[in-house]
């Protein structure tokens, strides 16, 4: 990192999210992924002569939700613009987008990075439509060597929300944390599946570097093609270093778009055409302004779910440490409901949270079971937590109890009985076992009395074995030491 000493990176991230509405942004075609090519198309999303766009009310509602979740102002009146550029998979050769009056503007998202909370400003979130997809045939699918290009317009016109951060991000870790938190919010709002690998959530990063304290921004470079949070973090880190290297070795950073090469771990400059950034925006004359009045805004606001940040704060109030609160906040909604019910039923929050994020999650993954399909209730989890804290079952036996519960064997008490896992906490019964073990192992007793303390562990193990693991270990320990001394 020494090369970066005295340098500061200025990073802004643009995120595109495809909304999973039933129909497309400006026509009635189905939004469907993985369907046969060109099945979900009509004159409007194919850009046929004479076809017109009509906005999707649900999409407008959903982008408003996103804006509200990102603490944005919602424009009561916003306007669609045409963004003009020629591209084979853009059927009208213009994209209906927004320019100077987006639906959402001036918000922020608080992001936890290495234990600190960083507030990242949101410049805007605007509504637009997605393009189709090009499939380049022949010569390994590379665009310049393709012999044929096939076009699939199923994605053409799918509602797309572009969320633009302010240049408030300073490190690669912050960039990653911001993108992850944004995805959590989107998933929580249930407006997109936000799958990075399928492209329903995509991000570009704008990066420049400057000497610490410098008032002006450096030259901005746009990085594309980052398909995971890890590649976003790596690409940003790489690019920061590349730019600093460039400058400190006497070169200059040129304004360009660079492509992240995941395998090589480097960014490559893309051949950019002169003047390609003049999109000649103008108001879309086929649409009237979108009006989201106070009543509608209030309705939308009412429908907002608890957001990840709010949830983390609530968990922290229950006494969970930030890490555990964060992991639990990101857990499946059904599991979180079990947790909430367990706490309501009087369970210790920390213990319940550890069960949910640990053993319960692991069991479900191991058994390939959906959280919603498990019979575990909040009451049962509370009961399980209590059984452990009351020493009715040992910590390891509790895992067995959970297994039984998850397999539908009934409530924890019933499982513990049924599987014979209740601890023996009757001192008399344990004392008898201890006596037997001491009688059977005279040499161990001798070694102990000669000062070899650690032999107690062996003896405890023997008692546990004799009781099939059901004896309460603490009691066994006490009795052994008592009898040995």
């Amino acid at each position: 990192m020494s090369v970066l000493e005295g340098w500061e990176a200025v990073i802004g991230i643009e995120v595109h999210v495809e909304l999973l509405t039933q129909s497309k942004m400006f026509c009635g075609c189905k939004v469907g992924f993985g369907d046969e090519p060109n099945m979900n198309v009509c004159p409007t999303c194919l850009g046929l002569p004479g076809a017109l766009p009509v906005p999707n009310r649900t999409a407008i509602e959903w982008i408003s939700k996103i804006g509200m979740a990102l603490n944005c102002e919602i424009s009561e009146t916003s306007v669609f613009h045409r963004k003009n550029y020629f591209y084979a998979d853009l059927p009208k050769n213009y994209q209906i987008s927004q320019f100077d009056i987006p639906v959402c503007h001036d918000g922020f998202l608080d992001v936890a990075v290495d234990g600190d909370t960083v507030r990242i400003g949101i410049e805007r979130a605007h509504q637009e439509e997605d393009t189709g997809k090009s499939l380049h045939m022949g010569e390994g699918g590379r665009i310049h060597a393709a012999t044929e290009t096939l076009l699939d317009f199923n994605r053409s016109g799918v509602p797309l929300v572009e969320i633009v951060s302010k240049p408030d991000i300073r490190t690669a870790a912050q960039a990653r944390a911001y993108a992850q938190e944004l995805r959590n919010v989107i998933l929580e709002l249930d407006v997109s599946d936000a799958k990075l690998e399928e492209g329903s959530m995509r991000f570009d990063a704008n990066i420049s570097v400057r000497q610490e304290g410098a008032p002006e921004f450096g030259t901005k470079v746009e990085i594309k093609n980052m398909n995971s949070f890890r590649s976003l973090e790596r690409a940003v880190a790489y690019e920061i270093e590349r730019q600093v290297d460039e400058i400190t070795s006497g070169g200059t950073v040129i304004q360009e778009t660079r492509h992240w090469d995941e395998e090589a771990g480097v960014t490559h400059g893309m051949r950019t055409k002169e003047g390609s950034s003049d999109y000649r925006y103008f108001t879309e004359p086929d649409l009237v302004p979108i009006v989201i009045d106070a009543t509608w805004q209030a309705e939308i606001r009412q429908s907002l779910p608890e957001l990840p940040a709010e949830r983390r704060a609530r968990y922290a109030d229950l006494g969970l440490d930030p890490h555990l609160a964060g992991v639990l906040a990101g857990a499946d909604a059904d599991l979180r409901a079990v947790f909430d019910h367990a706490v309501d039923a009087g369970a210790d929050a920390k213990a319940a949270a550890i069960w949910i994020t640990g053993e319960v999650t692991a069991w479900l993954r191991r058994e390939d079971t959906a959280p919603g399909d498990s019979p575990l209730t909040g009451e049962w989890l509370a009961a399980l937590v209590a059984m452990v804290s009351d020493s009715k079952v040992s910590a390891s036996a509790a895992k067995d109890v959970l297994d039984g519960v998850m397999r539908g064997e009934g409530a924890p008490e019933a499982v513990a009985e049924g599987r014979d896992l209740i601890q023996i906490s009757d001192a008399g019964a344990i004392a008898a076992a201890v006596d037997e073990v001491l009688a059977a192992n005279p040499d161990a007793v001798e070694r102990y009395q000669a000062g070899e303390q650690k032999v107690v562990g062996f003896l405890v193990g023997q008692v546990m074995r004799a009781t099939q693991g059901k004896a309460e270990p603490k009691l066994v320990n006490e009795l052994l030491r008592e009898k040995l001394s």
């Binding site: 850009g47 004479g50 017109l52 003009n84 000649r280 925006y281 004359p285 649409l287 009237v288």
Partner: protein
């Protein structure tokens, strides 16, 4: 005279009474077209089979005394920029040669659902850009009153077929005067509705904020009848008017007693033919004599309207026509790369006037020029709207000549775009304001060419506009018909 010379109202009465059948009427119209087309070239596509089948169906409904309305069985032509399912639709461009839309425009759906018989698709200036129908990739259309002259444009084909009797009515589209100006030059009634009254879904766009479909007919009554048929809210057009639609036919026949008629001062003098001015001023005298309050009104911004129009319309068209790229439909000229293929297809597919306007519009929207050109034009548009609003405080309607001159010779202006652009000086302001306007024939000049009189009204002012137009028509007693090489005599 044949059935092809009837008005829609007359023909509808004949069909309703059983005096004639739609099959007879449609045959008469198609026969007329067979004779006139050799001279006019007003139709690009005739759908004889479709028309005769629709006529037969209409006859069955009439026989059952169960017609779908007054248009049931009436032969109507469509400008070839309105999509017709399975019937070639070219907008007179080479780039759409052979293109058959997979759907009907809303207006076409509406006409069909009311039993109208679609005769075919009429010629226009390519993508409706022009005022003479000379800019058609498929050859010019002639004026029925003089085949050496233009019919006006861009809906010249629709104007000509109605004038010649090769349809009883037709639809056109009007972006800057493309219905009213050819109506004036062909001696028929042509009307542009308030923006949003008629759905644009399925109309191949020229300039979306200005385009509006409207009727060509021989009478004002027919015009209102046809507008009643095509107007209405359309959920597929986001700019469609959502309020209540009046019955336009009801406005006719109530006279102009007490109405205030404003004569637009700016639409006279230099550039206006004396015969046109004389005919209009005589009409004003008659309107005054019949009880209207005729006053002169100034709408000063109309002088800048033409310049604003020639920035706004090309700007919108530069985006609207971007979709014609040779990829999904229409002409494709191959190239080494996708970009080259697109560029070659467009270079070869678009004619010179379309290319000129795309370039103009692209330039007007470009970074560094937007404010000076497109932005300025939007300011003029807003000023013009304010000017009109002020004028309509004082008067109920505004009137002017429709065109400063009567039909001109083919080739006269086709090499001089600026001279051609002046054709629409009186009609463009209504488009920029989104207001309705109608042209009514009121006489002939010394060469026997028709003169059109324009009545304009504020948004949704169709009822008062029709009221005045009907009175203009009554006072004009214009009953001349073109004598087209003896075929229509």
């Amino acid at each position: 005279m044949t059935a092809a010379d009837l008005t829609i109202t007359q023909a509808a009465a004949g069909l309703a009474s059983g005096e004639m059948t739609s099959t007879q009427l449609t045959e008469a119209v198609l026969d007329r077209a067979a004779m006139t087309e050799a001279v006019l070239h007003a139709y690009l596509t005739m759908d004889r089979d479709g028309a005769m089948a629709a006529a037969a169906e209409s006859d069955r409904r009439h026989a059952r005394k169960d017609p779908l309305g007054p248009l049931d069985g009436i032969p109507i032509a469509l400008k070839d920029n309105m999509c017709t399912h399975g019937v070639e639709t070219t907008a007179s461009s080479k780039i759409l040669a052979g293109y058959r839309p997979p759907y009907d425009a809303t207006v076409v759906e509406r006409l069909r659902s009311q039993g109208a018989v679609i005769t075919g698709k009429t010629n226009l200036d390519e993508f409706a850009m022009g005022s003479s129908t000379e800019n058609s990739a498929y050859g010019a259309t002639s004026n029925p009153w003089d085949p050496d002259r233009v019919p006006g444009g861009s809906s010249g084909g629709s104007a000509a077929v109605v004038a010649a009797g090769s349809a009883l009515g037709a639809l056109g589209s009007d972006t800057g005067g493309s219905i009213r100006q050819p109506a004036a030059l062909c001696g028929v009634v042509g009307m542009k509705p308030t923006y949003g009254l008629v759905s644009r879904f399925g109309l191949i766009a020229f300039a979306s904020s200005l385009d509006q479909i409207g009727p060509f007919t021989r009478t004002v009554t027919d015009s209102a009848l046809l507008l009643d048929a095509i107007a209405g809210f359309d959920p597929r057009d986001a700019t469609s008017f959502r309020g209540e639609y009046p019955n336009f036919s009801d406005a006719i026949g109530r006279g102009v007693q007490g109405l205030r008629i404003g004569v637009v001062k700016e639409f006279s003098g230099e550039g206006f033919e004396p015969a046109v001015e004389a005919a209009c001023s005589s009409m004003l005298d008659r309107l005054s004599a019949t009880g209207a309050d005729v006053v002169e009104v100034s709408v000063p911004t109309v002088d800048a309207a033409l310049s604003a129009y020639y920035l706004i319309a090309p700007a919108e068209c530069s985006a609207n026509l971007a979709r014609f790229d040779g990829i999904r439909y229409g002409l494709r000229v191959s190239g080494a790369t996708t970009e080259e293929m697109m560029a070659r297809s467009r270079a070869e597919g678009f004619g010179p006037e379309v290319t000129r306007r795309i370039l103009l519009g692209t330039y007007a929207l470009s970074a560094g020029y937007y404010d000076a050109f497109y932005g300025k034009a939007l300011e003029v548009r807003a000023l013009l709207q304010a000017d009109f609003a002020a004028a309509y405080e004082k008067v109920d309607v505004l009137v002017s000549p429709t065109s400063p001159f009567t039909a001109f010779k083919m080739g006269d202006k086709s090499q001089d775009p600026l001279a051609m652009y002046l054709c629409d000086i009186c009609t463009i302001p209504s488009n920029l304001a989104g207001h309705p306007g109608i042209s009514i024939p009121i006489g002939l000049d010394e060469s026997g060419l028709p003169i059109g009189f324009q009545v304009m009204a504020p948004a949704l002012g169709e009822p008062v506009m029709y009221r005045v137009a009907a009175e203009v028509e009554r006072l004009a007693t214009f009953d001349a018909r073109p004598e087209l090489a003896g075929v229509t005599a």
